[in-house]
Point group: C2
Chain length 325, copies 2
């Protein structure tokens, strides 16, 4: 299998590349080569038994996607995106990367003509309030951000290019990734990870919303697992609707904190400082809370079973397995 | 009001222009001028008390939409499209006109900067099987054709450009227009109109499906009424979801024929020849049957109340009011 990861320098892209290097196989077949593509150089994973090429470029630029697809990848993981906040601030950039970039990948695949599998990372941002609770597989996709609009359009394109036989496409609406490793960022959703990550690292974290806020989470490890599961799916079983929401753990912020306390103790959990922020609260109010992901579950996608499990994955994968105090 | 009709040479565009010429007003204000734009010259309506410009061009060509929007139209009716069958056969042309053309209109409106009202004709083809009966306003939009995909993307763009304040947009999913005047065409839906139009004109019509097939209809007059109603809507009442399905009449083919018999007699209704066509039957099986259009009804959109009324509208508007025998 020749593998192409577009967005290979991002958090999920790096973890996916590491996992593929460690396993040497994807979709039940041996990996022959892997290309990591991004706007900045992706770190090549250690220990790969196959050649890894690192390429940089501007995805929607003329000829760029064509060049990548003419190399004949069997599987394309398309993870590259301008994130929600930036796409909202820079309208042109968001449409250029998230819509034109995705369309360029699909068009290049069509032109290359070998019907690669294309696994596109979509987002819960495809949904916008008012929303039922839980949200079922056939509820209207009606985004309230430009980012969500661009992802929803990408989903429609993936289904149409698949129906026409140009690609074998899957648009996966990933849960919010928690615990996201690394530095705190400015995303409105950042606190969901920060209130776990920072206390475990001995730092204070700020909680800008009330503890009854519920959201839909899965670990970075589960996200990589979703991508690998999609790489091995039987497309005949999926049918023409190629976009679906993936399983996750629905918990309130209060339940997140209780899980942290169970695993790491009161002292760690006490590092969360309540500082209600009406701006963040307003944004969060329009977000989805939980889903009934029957389609994805029937196709064998699996997330963690509890938020405690999500915290344990973080401790294993990012903190060397030790529970700090 | 300065009015721009993109797709002014089409059946609905021509009827809309005639109605605007007759009324002299739209959205509660006097019409100052009207531009009819299409790939072929639109016939200017008779009796307009305002100047009418007829322009031809290729909508997605560079600078074309910008030129149209820089003229400062207050209302843009965007009706231009490559129809379903052709968009399915010519993938590039469908995406070029239906997606790139629509995006060009919205981008040009954003650049022009005067926030025009944009009324975009979408389609029931945005929906694909499996479908509930009836289909509610919050059911998933999951098209099964490239045309439907392009219309669904247009809907998402209209909502996003509206949310950002670039336009005041409305994406109207029109019912199947029945009775469509003119010659029979090759569209799979053509028989819904042909089985009424041809017998009334003394001609034989072929019915390729069984009489229990149900579909969602409104007259050309109702379609023009929808566009005019959207031109006068209060956007605040509509909210951020700017796409919705419009009211129609849900009838089976058998009920269509019964209505024809009631109005025009047995001799006319006997001109329908049954010739089941598995190809057409298969296409129709994935189509929507009927809708619960609560949102549109709450906003005051109105269609005919019965299929008999739809036939009477055809006789009044196309046959001079006389019932042939």
């Amino acid at each position: 299998m020749r593998v192409l990861i577009i967005g290979g320098a991002g958090m999920i892209g790096r973890k996916l590349a590491q996992r593929l290097a460690a396993e040497g196989r994807v979709g039940g077949r041996t990996i022959e080569s892997m290309t990591l593509y991004d706007i900045v150089p992706a770190p090549p994973p250690a220990g790969a038994a196959f050649p890894v090429r690192v390429e940089i470029g501007d995805l929607p630029a003329p000829g760029e996607a064509a060049r990548l697809l003419m190399a004949g990848p069997d599987i394309v993981f398309h993870l590259a995106a301008i994130v929600s906040g930036q796409a909202e601030q820079d309208f042109d950039l968001g449409y250029r990367i998230n819509l034109d970039g995705t369309r360029a990948v699909l068009e290049a695949a069509r032109t290359a003509g070998h019907r690669p599998r294309v696994i596109f990372a979509s987002s819960l941002a495809a949904y916008g309030a008012p929303l039922p609770d839980p949200i079922g597989d056939d509820y209207l996709v009606a985004p309230l951000t430009s980012y969500g609009t661009q992802k929803a359009i990408g989903e429609l394109l993936v289904s149409d290019y698949t129906r026409k036989g140009f690609v074998d496409g899957y648009a996966l609406r990933l849960p919010t990734i928690c615990v996201r490793p690394g530095k705190p960022n400015a995303a409105a959703s950042g606190f969901f990870s920060a209130i776990i990550r920072e206390p475990l690292a001995g730092q204070e974290a700020v909680l800008p919303v009330s503890e009854d806020v519920m959201h839909w989470h899965a670990s970075p490890r589960a996200a990589v697992g979703f991508l690998l599961h999609a790489a091995a799916l039987d497309g005949e079983r999926v049918g023409p609707r190629r976009a679906f929401t993936l399983p996750g753990v629905a918990v309130t912020v209060g339940e997140q904190i209780a899980a942290l306390r169970t695993i790491a103790g009161d002292k760690v959990a006490a590092r969360i400082r309540r500082a209600p922020d009406p701006f963040v609260q307003r944004i969060i109010a329009g977000w989805p809370r939980r889903f009934d992901t029957k389609r994805a579950r029937d196709l064998g996608f699996e997330a963690e079973k509890s938020f405690e499990e999500i915290i344990r994955v973080h401790i294993e994968d990012e903190l060397g397995g030790g529970v700090p105090s």
